[in-house]
Structures are given as C-alpha cells and as structure tokens.
C-alpha cells in the first residue's frame, strides 16, 4: 500500500528527469582555432603546440613537437626574425611572448642532452637530388629522409650550411651550434657531396638515376651599382666579404669602412668590420632610419657596438680614401630625391650591401626551368616548369630569410613525395584564425616579457663571441607560460566551472571536456568565459 507520508502522492525524483537542453537555441561547440604565431611562421611550426609542452617543463616533448616541422631550433632560436612574435596576440595585452628565446632554449637543451632527430622512414627506393646545402636544401633533406627517400645533397662550397655559414656572422650564430644541428640531419643518412658545382641538372639527374631534383641554390651574388671610382679605391660586396670572413681569410679593409645599404646584410657587414678592427664603421643609406629594411633588434645591437648611420645619403663617387656623399631628402611621396649637396667622407674601403641575386648560369644553360625577373618560377608545390624539378629558398620569389627557406624545404619535400608516388599534394584547409577578439584575456595574469641578456658591449669589439645570450631554464619556463594558447584548449577548467547547469563534463586523464546537451541551456557563458577562444556558439537547427 501507500507508504508515503500524509498528503504525499509521488516519490521524490531528481531534477535530472527534466532535460533542459530542449530550451537551447544555440549550442556550445569546442573548436581549435589557428594561433596567429603558427599562422605567421614561415616554417609552419606548431608554436602553440610546442609551447604547451614547454609550459609543463617537458622540454624533450616540446623539442620533438618543434622538429616535426623544423630540424634547426637552436639555429632558428638565434637567427630567425620571428614573425610569430609580431603576430602574437599578447602584444595587445603587454608584450609578445618571447617565442624565439624559448625556441633557442629548447634547441640548446636538445644539443646539451644529445637528443636525436626522428628515425628515417622505411626506404621507398625513390632517389632525390638536392642541389644546395643551405637551410632550404637541408630542411628538404631532413623531411625527405623522414619519408624514407634516398637523398643526395650536393654543394659547391667545402662546408654545409649555405648562407647560414657564409652569410651570417659567428657572433649571431656560433659555428658549433650550426655544425651540431646540421650533423644531426646528415646522421639520418643523407649522402653528402661537397665542393661539387652542378653544371648540368639533366645530366646529373640521369647519371644518378634521380626521380626528382630540388634546386636550393640561394642568392649568392651581391648586387653591384656603378659608382665612379678611382683605381686605388677598395670596393667589395658584402656577400663576398662575409664569405671570406667565414672562410677565415678576411680581407684587409683599413681603419674606416663605409657600408652602403640598409638591410640586415649591411648591418652584418658593418658589425663584422668593427670586429675586424675598423675604428669607424659607417652605414650609408639613401632613405631614413625608419625605412631601413633591417630588423630593429639587430640595428639596436649594431648602434650599441659603435656602428654609425648616415641616412638620406647616396655614394656619388669613390676616389682613393675619400668618398663623395650626396645628401637626399624625401619628396612629398616619401621617396628620396637628390639635393645637389655633397660632402666628403674618409673611407679606406666601401662594402656594397645592396641586395643579392641568384646565379642563374646553371639554369639558363639548362633552359628547361622558367626564370623570370631573376628568380625561378614555381607552382604552389614548388615544382618548376621542368617536371620533377623543384626549387625553393632565395632562388624563388619570397622573403629571403633562413626560416622561409626551411619552410620551402618542407613544402618541396611534400611536393616531391607526392610527385614520386604519383599522387597530388593533400592540402589541408586552415582553421579559422584565433584573433584577439576571440580571447578573454581577463584570465591571464599580468607578466612582462623576460629579456634575453646580451654580451657586454666592451667584450664585442674584437671577437666573434655570441652577442645575444640564452635564457635560464627558469626564465624559459616562465616565458613559455606567458603563452595564451590562442584558439586551443589548455585545460583551465573554466567551462567546467562556470556552467550554471553542470552541463560540462570533465573527461579526466586526457584533460578534455564534453558538453552534456541533455542539460545545456545554451546560455553561452562557457564560450564567453573561455580564455583562449576554444568554444564557439552554433545555432541549433530548429
């Protein structure tokens, strides 16, 4: 019979019988958005991904995630101009995350702990010739070996590294770091041929029975301009100059050195001249300091080392140990124009740093690869007009940086892999960008960027010791933890905590969450309060 208390006709039930999910007009959905750093990285690194590992202090896992895309963290952590930091959303909170500094820390950590790159893939029997052992060629070799293809890497120089060795001075990239990271790639079983100048692509391809060729020949020729000059004047181009210094046979420049140009190479040349004993290293540039294409950090370092600048100036004539400079002014459109005012400047040598060009004699002789405006024309998979011949790095139209070249190496490897297997490259659609508006930055506490220490200026004057120093582990960890993980869940439990309906379930060990749509009313608090923008509201189909 009825055992219930007086006047009670129903047993107590749980409110879980009431599926409030039916109220919903919008549903929260977990998404991964593309972090702006990843989007900006020319090498296609998953920066947010490896910072996530580094945040936990799991440096090996972080390094492994990094070398998935780029085998040179210690090199990149020194010479990359880090477009990732320019794109970083944290710029709008305080300062960008020091991604480059953490990358270097991970690179150095891996070298110190002797971490090995992944094993090469199972042999496929396909053979690839890579011409040029700079960042593009080495990166291609790395990725091709991982895919299991045989790689022969040839270079006309006696050592590997291309412009990373012959263009970038040792005070920016110590040679032991360069050698160690390159050796790690070669140890994956790359067949190296040095001091070999390829004369005929087609012939080499046939002789070696190669299925594909990757041309990564770089841009090795310094641009020249016609400057009226006396016989006794000493004029040389920056590329040759830096190459000779790298070869440890630096030219005699004298006491006063003038560098003509406003790019990074001009700064490298001027800073190198200072280290070789020049008491005056003057950069002459025809536009203003703001318009210099050189990167700001390097300019600051150069000025700190006593390099001086003469902007709005052109070199008109070189005669013996004097050069004539013509002053310029900016016209209404912001272009420099001559003023007719001249000034003499003492100079024992003039170094031209006016840009570089690709040596096209090889390609012109070949005739099968289309060349336009001094660069090789390529399709989206980096294949040239000659089937099976790919090209990348400074020889193709792109920004000429080592990081872009590394990215080209990876892209070409994918293109080549698809080509030799007779398939087309699978293109993956990019996720929606995790722009700043998607974030709720309240949840990130305030933290300034950790500055990298620099070598004292007095110690930089006569040697090639590294100028920018690394972070300690503690500071690298701190810096990694400044990452806001834009667009990607970092398991902060906010959605789980802020739901008024307990409709977010925490799945446990793997740290992910799931929405219980039986009870989610679609209020949207979880999406609004997600710090990193990893939840979006989607209208219900009614």
């Amino acid at each position: 019979m009825n055992k219930r208390p007086f006047a009670i006709t129903l047993d107590v039930g749980s409110s879980r019988a009431n599926h409030t999910g039916s109220w919903r007009v919008e549903r929260p959905v977990y998404v991964d958005r593309l972090p702006p750093c990843n989007n900006a990285c020319p090498a296609g690194e998953n920066i947010q991904g490896w910072l996530y590992e580094a945040e936990s202090g799991n440096y090996e896992a972080a390094w492994r995630a990094l070398v998935e895309e780029n085998p040179f963290p210690a090199i990149m952590g020194r010479i990359c101009f880090h477009p990732c930091e320019t794109a970083c959303n944290r710029v709008q909170v305080d300062e960008a995350v020091g991604i480059n500094a953490v990358e270097r820390f991970l690179g150095d950590y891996a070298l110190a702990h002797g971490l090995r790159l992944p094993h090469p893939g199972a042999a496929t029997g396909h053979r690839v010739l890579v011409v040029g052992a700079g960042p593009a060629g080495l990166s291609a070799a790395y990725h091709l070996r991982r895919m299991g293809h045989y790689v022969r890497l040839v270079d006309s120089s006696p050592k590997l590294g291309g412009m990373m060795r012959y263009g970038i001075p040792a005070y920016r990239l110590p040679r032991d770091v360069l050698d160690a990271e390159i050796a790690r790639v070669i140890d994956m079983g790359v067949d190296v041929v040095l001091d070999h100048n390829v004369q005929d692509i087609e012939r080499e391809r046939e002789l070696g029975n190669f299925d594909a060729v990757f041309l990564a020949v770089g841009a090795q020729l310094g641009k020249r301009v016609d400057i009226p000059a006396g016989d006794s004047s000493k004029i040389l181009d920056a590329v040759t100059f830096l190459h000779q210094v790298a070869d440890e046979r630096p030219p005699m420049l004298g006491r006063r050195v003038v560098v003509y140009g406003g790019g990074d190479t001009a700064l490298d040349a001027a800073r190198t001249a200072r280290r070789l004993g020049a008491t005056e290293a003057v950069i002459v540039y025809r536009r203003t300091q703001d318009q210099m294409p050189a990167h700001g950090e390097e300019l600051t370092q150069a000025l700190g080392e006593g390099v001086t600048l003469r902007w709005l100036s052109t070199i008109n004539q070189v005669d013996g140990d004097t050069i004539m400079i013509e002053k310029m002014r900016l016209n209404a459109e912001g272009f420099p124009e001559a003023t007719g005012e001249f000034e003499a400047l003492g100079a024992d040598a003039v170094v031209l740093a006016l840009g570089q060009e690709t040596d096209l004699t090889l390609l012109e002789r070949d005739g099968r690869v289309e060349v336009k405006d001094g660069v090789v024309q390529v399709a989206s998979d980096l294949m040239t007009s000659d089937r099976g011949v790919f090209a990348g790095g400074d020889a193709v139209p792109a920004n000429r940086t080592a990081t872009v070249a590394v990215g080209h190496g990876k892209k070409a490897a994918r293109g080549i892999d698809a080509f030799v297997r007779g398939v087309s490259v699978e293109s993956v659609a990019k996720h929606e960008l995790a722009s700043f508006e998607h974030l709720n930055t309240w949840y990130y506490s305030d933290a300034e960027r950790t500055q990298r220490p620099e070598l004292e200026k007095v110690r930089r004057q006569d040697n090639f010791e590294e100028v920018v120093l690394g972070l300690t582990e503690r500071n690298a960890l701190f810096e990694a933890r400044r990452c806001m993980s834009c667009g990607n869940c970092f398991e902060c439990d906010n959605c789980f905590g802020v739901c008024p309906d307990n409709a977010v379930m925490k799945l446990g060990a793997n740290g992910k969450y799931e929405i219980d749509y039986d009870f989610c009313k679609g209020c949207g608090i979880c999406a609004r309060e997600c710090p990193c923008g990893a939840i979006t509201m989607v209208p219900e189909l009614i």
Binding site: T20, M484, F490, C492, G497, P500, N502, R528
Partner: protein, 344 residues
C-alpha cells in the same frame, strides 16, 4: 644575479583550474568529483547567476566540512527553480519553510544538532536579497544577535526576480524594475534608499562577514572556507547577476559581475568581528558606464535621451566605495594563490 619577486604568471591563474597547478591550488569547482550540490535539470533561466553562486558556495562548504552540511532555504528563485514537486535538484540535506524565516529555521536546526551532540554537522542558511534584506531581515538580525552557529548566505540579484522583477532594498539606484518604472524626472529606483546588509551585519560584530561575486571563484571559495573556520553567526553576501531582471545577455553573467567589482559599485571585502581585514583590489579600473550599458534596466540612462547626470551620480557611489574600502592600488593585482619570482 638578483631575484625580483613577480606575480605568478600562469595561463589560467584567474581561471577555475589549471593543469599546471597542484591539487591544493585548484578550486573546488575544478574537481571532477565536486559535490554538485545543485544538480542539472533545475529550471533556472539560461545564464542564471544564482544557480552558479549556490553551487560555488555550497560545494565549497561541503569540502570545508567534510561533506557535513545542512542547508536551509528561504522562498525565492533558488527554492522555486530547484524543487518543483516532485523533483529536486539538491544533492545535500536541504530544507525549505517560508520566505521570511530562513534564519530562524536555521537557528532551530543548529539548536537541534547541538542537542544531539552533532557539532560535526554545520548549518548554512540561504536566501535571495528579498528574503535577506527585506522579508527575513528581523529574523536574520536576531540570528546575528544570538550568535547562532549558522553561515547565512545572501545571493544578491538586486530584486524580486522570481515574482516578476520588483524592487527590493538591495536594488541599486536608477535601476528599472516593475515597481520603479522609468517615469518622471528621476526614472528608476530612488537614490538614497536601500540597505547595505554587509555593513549592517558587521555592526552586529559577528565573527565573519564577507562579500563576493560569481566572477572570482578563487576568492569566493576561500571566503566560504574561512567562514567555516568560525563558530557562531557568519554572513556571506554574493552578487549573482540575473539576466532576466537585469536585462543582460545570458552569456554575460560572469562578465557583468566582474564589472560590478571592477567599477567599485560592488565592493568585495571580508571582515572579522566588525573590522575589515582584506579587500579585493580593482585590477582594471573601469568607469560605471561599461557596467551599466550591458544591462537593459539602465538603458534609460543612455540612448536618445541620455542622463549623464544620473550616470555621474552612480559613478560617485562607486568612487565612495573605492575610497571607503581602499579598492585602488598601484600594484599589479595577482590572483589569491601562488606567486613566483624570476631571475633578472
């Protein structure tokens, strides 16, 4: 190498949890095994601040007492949406009587437990602002005066929302409600009225009085835990935005609560035996407009016929709170827990 103390920086340090924090540093809410004192399926509106505040406070009380809590509930939204016969959302011992007598019922429960020698079981009494500052006020003052061993929690959504958004003594000046309409030269609720119950509670010299919002979970949970360390009468006043009554978007509940604190309109502090012992500093100074504009109950202050004079008046109230409690600070405001230092 010098060491500079810095505020612990970690993604999520103001968030509910974080994979990098030790268990002790995480909130009760980040625990997958939290009590969930109030279960899914309750009939609160989308984005209800009170449902959230009640779960936050009671789950924290459960952890602080080793799961030995009896809750007494006044009539109000919280009671109505959680227990439509024959369903209940409560997963803890819970008892409802009338609108105005929750403090007195809690006194009775505490007395019964004392008689039974159960000093391990703690009593929490809860009500909305109507049941606290208006209808239950006499009973509450009596409970304070007798120093009964009860934590009384007021979930303040600044009006009688359950019955159709009527004014209470906790409704802020200028707010539109069903009984303070937007008419005449002084639209909305009148200035100079209402009760500041946290200060009234302090005047009773009870052991512990604190305010909190649903926007700062670490702070709220720490206050519940602290409150449970005292015996005798204690009072916790939690601001819980009401999307329906305030006319704010359901997704903005926490954001609105955060702005109430950041503008200074809702001072967050704690006091022991009538003396303020700590305040939550403002982290990002915010003018009151930003808070008001998110809520339709203040819409008449903006738009076609704006009332900057009234906005200024509200800003003056915020400024007075900032001065009274010392809410502004030059220092960087860090979360309650965890700091570290960095080598420079």
């Amino acid at each position: 190498m010098t060491r500079r103390p810095i505020h612990f920086y970690q993604v999520g340090s103001f968030a509910v949890g974080n994979r990098l924090l030790s268990d002790g540093e995480r909130t009760v809410q980040s625990d997958a095994a939290r009590t969930n004192s109030i279960d899914s399926g309750h009939r609160a509106c989308q984005g209800c601040g009170e449902a959230l505040g009640a779960r936050y406070a009671l789950d924290a009380a459960m952890r602080a007492t080793g799961n030995r809590v009896v809750a007494v509930n006044a009539t109000g939204c919280l009671e109505v949406f959680s227990t439509p016969y024959p369903e209940t959302s409560w997963r803890i011992p819970w008892l409802h009587s009338l609108f105005g007598n929750a403090p007195a019922v809690a006194t009775g429960v505490a007395a019964a437990l004392r008689v039974k020698g159960r000093d391990d079981v703690r009593v929490v009494s809860q009500a909305g602002d109507g049941g606290t500052v208006d209808i239950g006020f006499g009973a509450l003052s009596g409970m304070f005066e007798r120093n009964d061993d009860v934590l009384f929690i007021c979930y303040d959504n600044e009006g009688y929302m359950n019955t159709g958004v009527q004014r209470s003594a906790a409704t802020p000046p200028a707010a539109r409600t069903a009984t303070t309409e937007v008419v005449g030269p002084h639209p909305g609720n009148a200035f100079g009225q209402g009760k500041d119950l946290p200060r009234i509670a302090m005047a009773h010299d009870v052991a512990y009085v604190a305010t909190a919002t649903v926007a700062d979970l670490h702070d709220l949970e720490a206050k519940v835990e602290r409150a449970m360390q005292f015996r005798g009468a204690r009072y916790l006043h939690i601001l819980v935005p009401c999307p329906l009554g305030w006319g704010s978007d359901s997704s903005e509940t926490i954001h609105v609560a955060r702005l109430a604190k950041e503008t200074g309109l809702f001072p967050v502090f704690e006091a022991e035996y009538g003396v303020v012992t700590s305040v939550s500093k403002i982290r990002r100074v915010t003018p009151v407009e930003e808070y008001l504009k998110l809520q339709r109950r203040f819409a008449h202050l903006f738009g076609k016929n704006p009332r900057p004079d009234i906005v200024t008046h509200l800003q003056e109230i915020a400024n007075r709170n900032i001065e009274r409690y010392g809410l502004r600070d030059e220092e960087v405001v860090a979360p309650r827990h965890a700091r570290t230092e960095v080598e420079v």
